[in-house]
Amino acid sequence: MNARAKRFGAAEIDAPGHVVFGQTLHLDCDPGSLATARELRDLQAIYEPFLASRVLPQAGLCLDLGAGAGWFGLGFASAFKGWTVICVEPDPARFDLLQQNARRLGLKNVTCIRAAVHPDAQDFGDALKAVLAGKLRLRPAEFQPLLALPGKIAPVAGGDGTLSCPALPPGLIARLAPDLLRIDAPGAEAAIALALKDVRAGFVVGRLFPCLPSDLFIPAPAAGPRQFYLVHGEHVLRRDYEDNFPARRPGLDVVVAMFNTRAFIEDCVDSVLADGNPAIRVLVVDDGSTDGCADLVAALYDGNPRVRLLRKANGGCASARNFGRRHSDASHIAFIDADDRVDPGMFTALLETARYTGAFVAEGEFKTFTTGPDGIDSFSPSYEAGLYQSPGNHRLAEFDYDWTPGSEMIVGQPSTWRRVHRRDFLDRRNIWFPEHVRAFDDQMFQILVCQHAGAIAHVRGHAYHYRQHPAQDIKQGDERHFYSFNMFRAIFLRALDEGRLDLGPVFRSLLNTMSWSYRGLREDLQHIYQEAAVEFLAVIDRTFGEVITPQMLAEVGIPGLDYLVRRKIEAMGHPPVNYAMMRLESWRWQPEFIRMMLAAG
């Protein structure tokens, strides 16, 4: 028998030893049983990682609900001597082990209670305090199933001053206000979460057996900061990624950039509000509209705590979106268009998925629609409809989702509006809408988000409704199409800075954009666009080498592209491939330059 075992007084007992919180613990625990295996697994998978990553105060009250044989609770009490630990375990056999172990380890800071938490248990006031103070002794009593008659789950005071309490009411947890709560209480999570809503409890860790609405676990502001880590299958509900942003409100702000969309804004805002989720708010940013839509919003949603209207001088869609973001205090943020709508419940699905997966980005599906002269909407599925046939490979409550590699979303149509982004992700990666870009600014945003997000949680069955109408920017074919060169240049420069050389999808996206822009462009701008594309592709060739094949160029649909690019490289003096070539600029790559050029003569 080793020295450590002796120190724990376990020499004469055949108890297996396990390293727990930096010490070897010998507990009598029915080795080989499923219950023990689970306790030990959770210790490694949940509790050691959680405690290893927290800075706990040196003293406090720890409440261990579902203590089992005591691997967590007794281990904690032994490792954190300044703390008081209350272990609560309903199962009689496990409870016996728990008590034995506690006694054998001689821990002075542990109290064991045989009970379960049950939402229907009658509150018995301050009896527990008496228990803790040693005035009342808990008598191991025959366990009452939780579904026993309500009258029987009330504590029974015996004549000898003992107390039998097979079920604890959740309100008692609130009164105890533990500094650390560990939950392993199947079926009682919701009641516990509700009881904790307004209570100061700095650390909450454990398993969630049912998948519950995440908002249940977000404490009310008055309860102070709380770090929680609740594991549900492959998912975990946690909020500590917001640690560095103390003023952040847990929830989603949907930023609606609005410019002269009086006819659509009410439908848009109502569709976001429809699910009634108080964690989701709407931030309408009026970008200097002149059709009175801001006053309409002010009148419609006056007094609605879920809608906020911000007014600013006109500055373009990107500036309105950034303005909304800078005025948002939410942990998650989405940017939608003021003439569009969402399925009711889409943003709840995305927020839940984002919270439980920790995804930097969660996205819904989308479909396009037009409103006919008769006021009837007709919908068309998106091009993605064929790509996702089966239900998602992952399941979270009623939501199906898949992890889609960000690189796959780079090539597609810019569809930032169907996404929920973690705000700390956007801030840390410094991804903004480019404010000087007055059209298609979401393309750059999307590409940067997809490059940095890794994988995106693609949630099935909830769609964004993307309105098509003739006034939409993309149909005008003016010089704003040249902003694409400006944005792709910035994307490539950033990629060079970041050492990001997996640019295949970005090149494909560039060629798609060129193809699409050229086709839709006003005729008098097409020859400028052709030359702009030739210059740009020549610079890409001299920056990254021969990454774009003649075949790819031929498919763009700009006449003679391959030939002209080769001629352009010759005219440049065939410089060696060099990253600095991307620093070159052309007057054809920014609409402002083109306007200056046309004004020059």
């Binding site: 801001a294 006109n314 410094n430 001299r542 410089p575 990253y579 600095a580 620093r583 200056m596």
Partner: protein, 355 residues
């Protein structure tokens, strides 16, 4: 305060911003439409420094102006300082960090004054600056006014700003040949330091020329400087210093390191060359030569300032740029305004890079 406005050529009085904010929308200045000057100031985390710059405008002896303060994504304490401003002549235009050029362009988009001027958020305007400019504008109707300035290095005595050499040379040429023609004025004006605080530009000129600063680029002034002069129908020079430039060469941007900022001259100079080539003033050899000298000076200086490990890449890109250039740019006649005698060494530099 002089309320009257002198008739200025080609002024279009009915100009309004593209999308005037709805009544009641926050941030509108008291002066309805039309003031004499729109002063555009951009800031990115200038902190306390910005107070003296703002005050140098608010304390001007001439009061008919608006101050467009574009906040290029600052954080506290700069944002707190800006939020506490109450002068009704100030319009605050916030944006997420997008660069100096973008911020100045935002100011231009909202400007309502007859004339535009710029001041960096760490520089100072002389108390008489606007009054003096207004006087010359009222007397001459000039579309473009250039002004001398003061240069503070923070170490030695205050000096005249760097383009004092041009101002002295202009006076000498006027003494020798009589009043300068517009072509001569343009050539000399081009030889000024490309910088933004040294000019007052008619808004009608800016709109006619579609002048903007080059988004995504530093060294933004050379493009604006060259094209403002090219499009100007008339140019005047102010006698007294109009601003003080505090040596502070770069402002940090959230993206990109300072070392890489030097690359930006490639883009700005390249576009300047191309657009100026389209303008008829390209055929004025003295003015064209001044454009070359100004741009080549910056291109050469940036090569010496860029981090060593970027130097080869810089030179390769510059070489490509020069190969693609109209060769007339490298034919710099000796009548070109060249107050610092850089002509020959810059031609040699360009040829060395292209070799």
């Amino acid at each position: 305060m002089t309320g009257g406005r002198a008739p200025v050529g080609q002024k279009t009085r009915a100009d309004t911003p593209a999308a005037p904010a709805a009544p009641g929308a926050g941030g509108e200045a008291a002066g309805a439409d039309g003031v004499k000057f729109s002063c555009i100031m951009t800031t990115f985390n200038d902190g306390e420094l910005i107070r003296q710059s703002i005050d140098s405008l608010l304390h001007q002896s001439f009061g008919d102006f608006e101050l467009l303060l574009v906040d290029d994504g600052s954080s506290a304490p700069t944002t707190d300082i800006l939020a506490a401003l109450t002068d009704p002549r100030i319009r605050l235009l916030p944006q997420a960090n997008d660069g100096l050029s973008s911020a100045r362009n935002r100011g231009l988009h909202h400007a309502r004054g007859d004339y535009i001027c710029f001041l960096d958020a760490d520089d100072v305007r002389a108390p008489w600056s606007l009054a003096q400019a207004a006087e010359v504008i009222d007397a001459t109707g000039a579309e473009l006014i250039l002004a001398p300035g003061i240069h503070s290095t923070g170490r030695t005595q205050l000096q005249p700003f760097m383009d004092q050499v041009s101002i002295t040379a202009i006076a000498a040429e006027a003494l020798a040949t009589g009043p300068l023609s517009l072509a001569a004025r343009k050539a000399w004006a081009t030889s000024f330091e490309p910088q933004s605080a040294n000019k007052f530009i008619a808004r009608s000129l800016i709109e006619r020329a579609q002048l903007r600063f080059p988004n995504d680029h530093f060294f933004e002034d050379i493009l604006f400087h060259v094209l403002a002069i090219a499009h100007a129908g008339s140019i005047e020079f102010l006698p007294s210093p109009s601003f003080t430039y505090f040596q502070r060469q770069f402002r940090p941007q959230l993206t990109g390191s300072n070392g890489q900022i030097r690359f930006d001259i490639l883009g700005t100079a390249g576009v300047t060359f191309k657009i100026f080539e389209r303008h008829r003033d390209f055929l004025n050899p003295r003015q064209r030569g001044a454009v070359s000298i100004g741009a080549l000076r910056l291109l050469r200086w940036c090569e010496t300032e860029i981090p060593t490990y970027h130097r080869y890449g810089y030179r390769m890109a510059l070489r490509t740029l020069l190969h693609d250039l109209n060769p007339l740019y490298l034919v710099i006649e000796d009548s070109t305004p060249d107050p610092r005698q850089e002509r020959e060494s810059l031609i040699r530099y360009a040829q060395e890079v292209m070799a």
